[in-house]
Symmetry: C2
Subunit: 93 residues, 2 copies
């Protein structure tokens, strides 16, 4: 099953699936500011576009371009600004 | 707008968006055999999983792993076998 999900009134949409590496989602964000919470460890990789992220317990905002990734621990909150529409891969462990 | 699309009875789902590079989709395929048609030039890149593709006017089947891509001309048909669930990026020009 491919699960289709929408968040923030459809401004973030994602597709969930499973590979030999475990559970993943690919998704797209509209331009805007978002705050996400994790239930497990996540690695988020920008596919196209750009994300500016503020990771948990971190005052600094950092720019992530296509191919770049960041990790977030389980049960944490992080903030993301999407510069235009951005596609991303999220892998869970 | 992020467009959500389904093909082949929901066994292929994709999200369409636009960046500075032009129009793109990210999507996921269930394990299975598919034949797609193009209306414009496409570059398909495997995000996770594996695709075995037979490109237009080509008898050979070739395996594409994560990070590998192939190009298809406009107005062509090509066949793909998805090995398990596979996520992909499609960029158009």
């Amino acid at each position: 099953m491919i699960s289709a999900n929408e968040y923030f009134n459809g401004t973030v949409k994602s597709l969930g699936y499973t590979t030999a590496n475990g559970k993943s989602t690919v998704g797209v964000m509209e331009e805007g500011d978002y705050e996400f919470g994790t239930s497990s460890h996540e690695t988020m990789t920008v596919i196209e576009g750009e994300l500016i992220a503020q990771l948990p317990n971190n005052a600094e905002w950092k720019l992530y371009k296509a191919g770049e990734s960041f990790e977030i621990e389980a049960n944490a909150r992080f903030k993301v600004k999407s510069v235009g529409q951005t596609s991303y891969l999220c892998t869970y462990k």
